[in-house]
């Protein structure tokens, strides 16, 4: 019922228990695609895993520690975007995202990210947003690059992805950079 409208075809909403079936189908239909760069998704992902995922996410929202949202396109669940954490001491967060395979190429992440960035800077009063991408995850890296994030460095062997450690590129955006960029 509660959502954030991006355009006529696209909106964001919290993921509730009643969305479990739809989320599970989306994950199952794109399992290999999502798994390629998502450590949380394992082989044998069950409906109980999907339910746990939703519950953890809602608990995190209730505790004011970040939250994930579904990206909806033309009435279908297309993917997910989230604040991985909200660090109120250092006033920063990290944004993560994934899309079902058939929803790629529609600019859904490019449209959704600015919503989370604006909300983080303007409403939550954070100062810094990170996006971390696998070095070889070219599609994902295009998002912060298009949005004008600065490539700050490479965290070597910083994530365990299905049995191997991968390097992450760290992209950062500061509140004043985002405001200047939008004012320009």
């Amino acid at each position: 019922m509660f959502s954030y409208k991006i355009d006529e075809e696209t909106h964001l909403s919290l993921i509730e228990s009643r969305h479990a079936g739809e989320l599970h189908d989306l994950i199952q239909n794109s399992l290999e695609h999502i798994k390629e760069w998502s450590a949380w998704l394992k082989d044998g992902h069950s409906i109980e895993d999907t339910n746990d995922f939703i519950n953890r996410n809602l608990q995190q929202f209730a505790a004011n520690e970040g939250f994930g949202m579904a990206i909806w396109h033309k009435g279908e669940m297309a993917g997910q975007i989230e604040y991985n954490y909200l660090d109120r001491e250092n006033l920063k967060t990290e944004v993560g995202y994934w899309l079902g395979k058939s929803f790629q190429g529609k600019g859904l992440i490019s449209k959704s990210c600015p919503v989370l960035i604006n909300y983080a800077f303007d409403v939550l009063n954070l100062k810094r947003i990170e996006i971390r991408c696998g070095v070889e995850n070219v599609k994902s890296r295009r998002i912060p690059e298009k949005l004008g994030f600065k490539e700050e460095g490479v965290a070597r062997q910083s994530g365990l992805l299905h049995g191997r450690y991968i390097d992450h590129v760290i992209y950062g955006m500061l509140a004043e950079e985002w405001r200047n960029r939008n004012a320009a």
């Binding site: 019922m1 509660f2 959502s3 954030y4 509730e16 009643r18 809602l58 608990q59 929202f61 209730a62």
Partner: protein
């Protein structure tokens, strides 16, 4: 961030902790309407109420939302607690005096009733009002809820027990 648009001037928004000061301000401006609040009601208490509703929401047992009119917080509406075994819930609401007469509570109730019956597949919705609270009772009456009875002396309000009228609507109605 998350809202449900009712019309061009009115929307419901899920309460978040950062709304605590607005909730506190509106409640304390209308203290005479809130016999349930104690005299030392603070911003922290408002935050605690919001947290309570967020935890309910996260457990799929309810929700609390602000009613916003022309960008201002006007009141609140909530599912007190969703009973999934019996598929029922209770609606509660309050409104700041300055926002009366605009049909805001009726519209907000309609939205939450539709959501409860269609999206959540609930079967029964209760609204209970103090017998002497005519303004509050006008809501379920206009919405076509049926009076099921009066729970005598069932709530302690303003230093006395008051009778509560129980209204209910079934999905089939």
């Amino acid at each position: 961030m998350f809202s449900y648009k009712i019309d061009d001037e009115t929307e419901l928004r899920l309460f978040e902790e950062r709304n605590a000061e607005q909730v506190y301000a509106l409640l304390t401006e209308n203290l005479d309407r809130h016999p349930e609040l104690n005299k030392n009601f603070s911003v922290d208490d408002a935050k605690e109420k919001i947290r309570h509703d967020l935890v309910l929401f996260s457990e799929n047992k309810g929700l609390g939302a602000g009613i916003w009119y022309q960008g201002e917080l006007a009141g609140s509406i909530r599912y007190h607690e969703i009973d999934w075994v019996n598929r029922s819930t209770e609606l509660g609401y309050w409104l700041g005096e300055a926002f009366e007469g605009k049909g805001l509570v009726i519209k907000a109730c309609q939205a939450l009733i539709d959501h409860a019956f269609s999206a959540l597949s609930l079967y029964r919705i209760v609204i209970s009002c103090a017998a002497e609270n005519k303004k509050s009772r006008a809501i379920p009456e206009k919405l076509g809820f049926k009076v099921e009875g009066v729970a005598r002396q069932s709530e302690w309000q303003q230093e006395r027990f008051v009778d509560m009228v129980i209204y209910a609507m079934l999905a089939s109605e």
